[in-house]
Amino acid sequence: MKNILDRNQNKADEVRNLLSSKKVLMVNIISSPGAGKTTLLERTCEELGSKFRIGIIEGDITTDRDAQRLKKYNIPIVVINTEGGCHLDSHSISKVLDSFDLDNLDVLFVENVGNLICPSQFDLGETFKLAVVSTTEGDDKPGKYPMLFREARAVLLNKIDLIPYTNFNFDSFSSDLKKINSQIPLFEISSTRGDGLKGWYDWIEDEINKMH
């Protein structure tokens, strides 16, 4: 039987081999629109920008607004406009890798298009997927989108400072998540206020160091 996404998979394998030979960690960040991927990247660049050589691929349906927000960190950023497409694929990643000096890069963050289903199905050649969810979306996301939470290496629960203003039930969220992926690290953070970010920085720093 033939895999329908063979073409995507083959290119993803190529990307993975290339990045691994260059010792570059690639993180495919997946979330709903507005969960806080860009703010998380802003904070992460501020914190880790002096320790590591960071690159960013911005998947955006039609604008370069997220990339504009990240320009101030003076790091290489490439925007991929999917022109309506709801996810990135390995061919679009492979094409833009030429724009990076991979010999002088430690980590490449890929901000996928905001969507919880489609990006989970397309391997980009990443080292791992990272799921970002926010409390304002509700506590039912792991149960509704099991593939992402099963495949992600870690989960960031963002906007924990807003819990008092929502009906988000942390116990229900956490128990659904543990049923799907019992070992997955969960970081409870607020990217705007700074809560919990230290745990995330330490963890991602470890992951970058593991590549060497």
């Binding site: 039987m1 895999n3 099991p146 099963r150 049923k179 019992s182």
Partner: protein
């Protein structure tokens, strides 16, 4: 919406196969999707129809079989079907599991003449 891209990749494979096998008409495409892929069959079929509408596959029937998620327990060796997103062995409760079914995006067969 990932249905559209998957349908595009499928139609490329179907049309390439039709060319290689010198088919003048593709009559049926049999597909298996794992439940984890979260494909909506109606949307998928609609997208596939759009991508093949000016080709030898324009009248092809699309048969979609959706198979449930099954895991193998790395601790006790039993196979089981995952129900209600509960990824723990139903015999020994271990969470050390390997997926054996549920992520399929397969073409089982292409029929034509």
């Amino acid at each position: 919406m990932h249905e559209i891209r998957i349908a595009e990749d499928l139609s490329a494979i179907v049309l390439e196969t039709a060319r290689n096998e010198s088919l003048t008409k593709v009559t049926k495409v049999n597909i298996i999707f794992g439940q984890m892929i979260q494909i909506v069959p109606d949307i998928f079929e609609f997208a596939f129809r759009e991508t093949v509408r000016n080709s030898v596959a324009r009248e092809a029937e699309v048969d979609i079989e959706i198979v449930p998620v099954k895991m193998k327990c790395m601790n006790c060796g039993s196979d089981f079907q995952v129900k209600e997103n509960n990824f723990a062995c139903n015999v020994c409760s271990s969470t050390d599991l390997d997926i054996i079914q549920g992520k399929e995006l397969f073409i089982k067969s292409i029929e034509g003449e």
